[in-house]
Amino acid sequence: MAKSDVKVLGAWPSPFVMRPRIALNIKSVDYEFLQETLGSKSELLLKSNPVHKKIPVLIHGDKPVCESLIIVEYIDETWSSAPSILPSDPYDRATARFWAAYVDDKFFPSMKEIGFAEGVEAKKAAIQQLVDGLILLEDAYVKCSKGKPFFGGNQIGYLDIAFGSYLGWLRVTEKSNEVKLLDEAKTPGLAKWAEIFCADPAVKDVMPETDKLAEFAKVLAKMRAAPPK
């Protein structure tokens, strides 16, 4: 299929945008990456995602698909030849979806909370909450991977994509708070998994460098602090 038949609307710093890009890479599907400018939304974005006006959006032919994990499932079902992204067994699929929802609904907010926490005690509590979450995810990793490198087994799967896409921001959080969150001592499996995930061919070109992301975080913080126009 011609490259222009598949477009991803997004932005390089977004963990959500990374997800469909990783999925398309796994399937060896060429796509055009259209980047939104920070602070404004393109006509195409507003037309393709009128309900949420958010990135990422996958545009396949003329059909827009929205919501990062829904896009990943769409990619898996549309380009259905191997490698598969979702596991084949329904119970394993339910487990992967459960943990992906946990990562988005609990883990990510607790990561943001560290940035918002004011004062030493609040920050400590927020960090502890995140670490508790990582310990749960370590347990999930051990159960899902069954001794193999990824949550998905020998290859990157749905839950690897869902959780792994946050690794860039997790490292920024570690750096700006001078704390080790993904600790070899507390979460050995995940610490090793993180290295392998980020080095994977489907991931390495779309995972932003931590320094670049940290710079971007500062730009974002300034924008948010600036008085509204």
Binding site: V65, I70, E73, Y74, E77, P90, Y91, A94, F98
Partner: protein, 219 residues
């Protein structure tokens, strides 16, 4: 091997009722266990240690939590009478709307009933917008799923049934024929679908429950 299916739920919860509807659509026999949320059973805590919430489906000893995850599991395990469409694009749209309802509509509708002051005003405004979005999405379809009910209709039964009851208690007028005529018509159709009708909580019991809570909240 005999199928052993258990469902942990709560009589008034739209989330556990939606799983029951899915099981009934598939004709799957199950054992229902009513939980007391003020006094959660050891089994519930064992089967859903992460969230400690209902619903939890246990199939041959293996637990699954999160209502939409459970329904997708049910749809993939018992393949007749499909709840999600077959086509990948249609599936993506179905999942999109189910997520929109759960993440945007339900909280706004809930908050428009229970919050106070400026928060309430904001919630009412948001809820109105979301109901309009659903109205526009329904277009000329009988159900969100087309001619037959599907995942979106099941998830949206909160709007059709629970919010109808909440409205009666709070006096809010958001889901009205004047404002969202197609959605009202859909509500009537969906709530009268036998598989849904037979698996909803008693409206009187729900109204009594919400009225008592509303009275407490107004003190």
């Amino acid at each position: 091997m005999a199928e052993e299916v258990k469902l942990f739920g709560v009589w008034g919860s739209p989330f556990s009722r939606r799983v029951e509807i899915a099981l009934k659509i598939k004709g799957v026999e199950y054992e229902y266990i009513e939980e007391d949320l003020a006094n959660k059973s050891p089994l519930l805590l064992k089967y859903n240690p992460v969230h400690k919430k209902v619903p939890v489906l246990v199939h041959n000893g293996k637990p699954i939590a999160e209502s939409v995850v459970i329904i997708e599991y049910i749809d993939e395990t018992w393949k007749h009478n499909p709840i999600l469409p077959q086509d990948p694009y249609e599936r993506a749209l179905t999942r999109f709307w189910a997520k929109f309802i759960d993440e945007k509509c339900l909280p706004a509708l809930w908050n428009s009933t229970w919050s106070k002051g400026k928060d309430r005003e904001a919630a009412i405004e948001e809820a109105s917008q979301h109901l309009n979005t659903l109205e526009n999405e329904l277009k000329d379809k009988k159900f969100f799923g087309g001619e037959e009910i599907g995942l979106v209709d099941i998830v949206a039964s909160f709007v059709g049934f629970w919010f109808g009851a909440l409205q009666e208690v709070s006096g809010l007028e958001l889901l009205t024929e004047e404002k969202v005529p197609k959605l009202c018509k859909w509500s009537y159709e969906v709530v009268n679908q036998s598989v849904i009708k037979e698996n909803l909580p008693s409206r009187d019991k729900l109204i009594a429950y919400f009225s008592a809570r509303f009275a407490d909240a107004s003190k």
